[in-house]
């Protein structure tokens, strides 16, 4: 049998159109890049590039606006859901999303996220949980696990004096105004595919006017965790997933039947 010498090239992977062609400032092994890419792919697939307005927050993702080829604003620490409310109420036909870390969303911005959800604000929130304040060098966050060492919990988070992690998605899912609240992870290909589907669902919810959506994405922080990228993925799977279980916490009946 003769081998066909002709090489058939099929492009299976390229930079999404909504993703700017620059190197990011994120550390090796950090899953922000993955999350950015998933969002950009969904924006491309849904043809939303010219209609989308992103709201960056404070944290490592403060420069998110450098990477998405869509209009962007950048909010004070924790206030992204309020700022997104302002944008969306004035431009209801635009697709508005926030991109927030755990310190931003689950600590300094708890009031803003809770009330944006309670109002059923028609925005999509992407919530990156990596259990520490990455940008300021790895301090304890509201999501730091019991016993986890950080630069401000050097002997490990002591729940007696430093309290317990905030399970933001579970908490927000109790609000009647929230329509779609799920937790996914970015530690392996299967999880990443599920994460992308959730991101897509969040945008679909918004363009159908079905209200507030939040996708929590468990993420790594190799640099501040002091691990290699591979070790970080394992640590996430073995430590974070048991504490922050993956799943759907709130799916409004109108969303359950969505086909896209």
């Amino acid at each position: 049998m003769e081998m066909n010498s002709q090489v058939i090239e099929e492009q299976v992977y390229n930079r999404p159109d909504s993703f700017v062609d620059v190197s990011t400032h994120y550390c090796p092994g950090c899953t922000h890049g993955t999350a950015h890419r998933l969002i950009a792919e969904v924006i491309d697939e849904m043809g939303l590039k010219g209609k989308t307005i992103g709201v960056a927050s404070v944290g490592c993702s403060v420069f998110a606006y450098n990477y998405f080829d869509v209009d962007f604003v950048q909010a004070p620490h924790g206030r992204a859901p309020a700022m997104a409310t302002g944008v969306k109420r004035v431009l209801p036909e635009r697709v508005v999303f926030t991109y927030q870390g755990d310190g931003d969303l689950a600590s300094i911005g708890t009031a803003e996220i809770v009330h944006a959800a309670a109002r059923g604000e028609n925005i999509s929130v992407f919530f990156l949980n990596n259990t520490n304040y990455g940008m300021t060098g790895g301090q304890m966050a509201p999501t730091t696990l019991p016993g986890q060492k950080t630069t401000s919990s050097p002997r490990g988070r002591d729940v007696e004096t430093q309290g317990y992690p905030v399970k933001a998605s579970e908490m927000i899912s109790t609000l009647d105004g929230a329509s779609y609240v799920v937790r996914r992870s970015l530690h392996d290909p299967k999880s990443i595919r599920l994460a992308k589907k959730a991101i897509r669902t969040a945008f679909e919810v918004q363009i159908r006017g079905l209200g507030f959506s939040l996708v929590e994405l468990l993420s790594t922080c190799s640099t501040n965790w002091g691990m290699t990228p591979v070790e970080s993925m394992h640590w996430l799977e073995n430590n974070m997933v048991p504490y922050f279980p993956l799943g759907d916490f709130k799916v409004h009946p109108a969303i359950a039947g969505l086909r896209f």
Partner: protein, 370 residues
């Protein structure tokens, strides 16, 4: 045009609506709440945006987001609520966005009380938020002026890409006076080339107050300060009363300015040659007018419902050319005309001590009274 009898707070709201405000975000606080309530009725009726936020912090950040779209947007609050807004105010200034903010001041510090005060002068005029920025500050003394200055606030905000604060107080917010409302302006349909609206058909835009390169940040600071020089050159506003032959000059803003007007009239009736300057723009401050008055006057009396905040600006402007005296009420106590009159009479009688700071002389006098 027929006049309408309106409460100061409601007049500000209706004036903003007629000036084409697209979105209002606020939080209840006395003595400002009628403004929010009025907006909650009128804005949805007109198909415009009204959101009662979960806090003043959220309200100002909703304003921040909405202002990024290039629309006319506003919020309002009273002193403690305005303190909470200061984070957003600095970010808005750092992003060079046009925003109108109304502060209906009350007695303080802290929770204080809900009576009228002017203790936010330093916070609003000389900063409040972090970093170097300037806000245009307009101080109405009546319901009509509340209307006129609210409309002007939107125009100035857009012209200079600046925050404009309408600095009112509980008495002006709560009082009713006849006023003439401006005609209803249509909502804007053209938006500036910096507005974030979705990038369809153009390159993407982003609005942010972050500038990690100090040199670039400094260039922005220079640009904004040069713009401020332009504002100082063009936008100073004040009112003068009985100044032609005045040997004594009273200076007060907002409600205190009009209380002083009653006192100045009474003093004139007694033959005392006294005039009044009522700054309408507190920032930019009418420095030149006051410097000029200091050349003409023997003594200038600053009256405020605070501990002597505008006093410092008047002293700088007077530059030693006239003696400056101060009289204040604090804590939400409304100043009455006879108090100002008795100060005018004391000054006109002469033999004043010039020792120490005018504020200390005032404190010492008030201690003696007790």
């Amino acid at each position: 045009m027929a006049k309408e009898l309106m409460k100061g707070n409601e007049a500000v709201a209706e004036a903003a609506i007629r000036a084409g405000v697209t979105a209002y975000f606020g939080y209840p606080i006395t003595p400002q709440t009628e403004l929010l309530e009025y907006m909650s009725r009128r804005m949805p009726e007109l198909g415009r945006v009204f959101v009662q936020a979960e806090s003043e912090l959220a309200a100002i950040n909703m304003v921040y987001g909405a202002a990024c779209t290039g629309r006319r947007v506003m919020s309002s609050s009273s002193s403690p609520g305005v303190s909470l807004m200061m984070e957003g105010v600095s970010y808005i200034a750092g992003t060079e966005l046009p925003v109108v903010l109304v502060d209906v001041m009350r007695g303080g510090p802290g929770l204080g009380n809900i009576a009228p005060g002017q203790g936010d002068y330093n916070q609003i005029v000389h900063g409040g938020g972090h970093g170097e920025y300037r806000a245009i500050v307009l101080a109405p003394g009546s319901v009509q002026e509340s209307v006129d200055l609210t409309v002007l606030a939107f125009d100035l905000a857009e012209k200079y890409r600046s925050i404009v604060v309408v600095l009112s107080d509980g008495s002006i917010g709560q009082m009713m006076e006849p006023c003439e409302l401006p005609p209803m302006q249509p909502l804007k349909t053209k938006f500036p080339d910096w507005a974030v609206t979705g990038s369809e058909g153009r390159d993407r835009r982003f609005l942010s107050s972050i500038n990690l390169d100090p040199a670039a940040q400094e260039r922005m600071n220079f640009r904004v300060m040069r713009r401020w020089q332009e504002i100082e050159a063009n936008e100073v506003r004040y009112k003068e009363y009985y100044m032609e032959d005045a040997r004594f000059v009273v200076i007060g803003f907002g409600s205190t300015g009009r209380v002083a007007l009653s006192a100045v009239r009474a003093a004139r009736a007694e033959g005392i040659p006294v005039g009044l300057i009522r700054p309408v723009t507190l920032n930019p401050f009418p420095t030149k007018a006051i410097a000029q008055a200091a050349q003409q006057a023997e003594v200038m009396l600053v009256v405020e419902m605070n501990n002597g905040q505008m006093l410092e600006d008047v002293m700088l402007a007077a530059d030693g050319n006239a003696m400056v005296e101060f009289y204040g009420r604090m804590g939400g106590v409304f100043m009455l005309p006879e108090e100002v009159l008795s100060e005018i009479c004391r000054i006109a009688a002469g033999g004043l001590s010039t020792e120490g700071h005018p504020r200390d002389r005032w404190l010492n006098r008030s201690a003696q009274k007790k």
